[in-house]
Amino acid sequence: MRTDIRLPELGADPAVVSVWFADPGETVYEGDRLVEILVGGATFDVSSPATGRLIGKLALADDPVLPGQVLGVMEVEEPGS
């Protein structure tokens, strides 16, 4: 099952992607820091929403991003599959 990795509401803007901590194909675990977002003079980490495999990045370093925007997509193993 595919799951979107979305930028949460930060209450501040503009936001840009700083760096990804995983590459497509890598297994990531729920709660792992996945993407660093730069907002003004601070950075925030977006965590992995689930355990699975990162399959794509839709926003790369220096791309401006908005709350709710899909940053990447992961494949999550469904229970019993």
């Binding site: 930060l10 209450g11 501040a12 601070a42 839709l58 370093a61 494949e75």
Partner: protein, 307 residues
Amino acid sequence: MLSLPLSEATDKPASRAPSRRLPPWLKRSLPHGNGNFFTQHLLRELRLETVCENARCPNRPECYARRTATFMILGNVCTRPCGFCSVPKGEPEGLQDDEPQRVAEAALRLGLRHVVITSVTRDDLPDGGADHFYHCILAVRARTGAVIEVLTPDFLGKTEAVDRVLEARPEVYNHNLETVPRLYKKVRGRADYQRSLDLLAHVKRRAPEAVTKSGLMLGLGETTEELLDVLADLRAVKCDNLTLGQYWGPTLKHTPVKRYVPPEEFDALARLARSLGFRQVASGPFVRSSYHAEEMVNVDAHGYPSA
């Protein structure tokens, strides 16, 4: 687990190197709760400006989530082109007579016990907006009874303007020096170091019961020696409280960051500042002049701020 070709998800390249990254100590936690939305919606409903938004403060998510904000009165267009600040510059609009009541309403609904009021610089107004400050202070106090901290411009050194603000008896009077004198031309443009020091000295003379406060941004290229000279100058005019924070360069058009100062250096500077006699010192990468401002004011047995 399903195995999908990566191209199904995106045609983006797998990665790209970031053009810049901040040091690890500038990492913040994601804001929690709905306070952020509450604060944002309230400010929009009441058509109020905050320095939090206009200066793109990195603490905004945290402060809004705690239902606090620093009100910026006298409009959102500044008459001075300071190199560090992202508040829009240009031709300001006329004053809004109902702004004091709207600020008071917001302070009441946010439940603030410590209200910080700042402004753009209004060199176009004969009194620099001092009378408007006066009315905002009175309105907020009447509705909330809160401790009031003002962060004013230098009013071009007009002491009668400062006196008008002091007539409203703000408990804390803040005026930021921002940086060391050598960097004034680049960073503060039309400001004057001595004029700012004189303002703080004047406040202490005219209203010794008021807590005086000033702040500097670090990382603009100042040396430690220059910084210590400024701290000594501030103590010489009996400035009570001090804030030291990291300058972050709002955009590429602004004065660039020369250095990111590590937290332990901020800590060492705080200890040093306290040894010079500052009563309260807030020093750290995310410290701004009004960040956690209420924690810098002690309240005596009568509920009156005692620095």
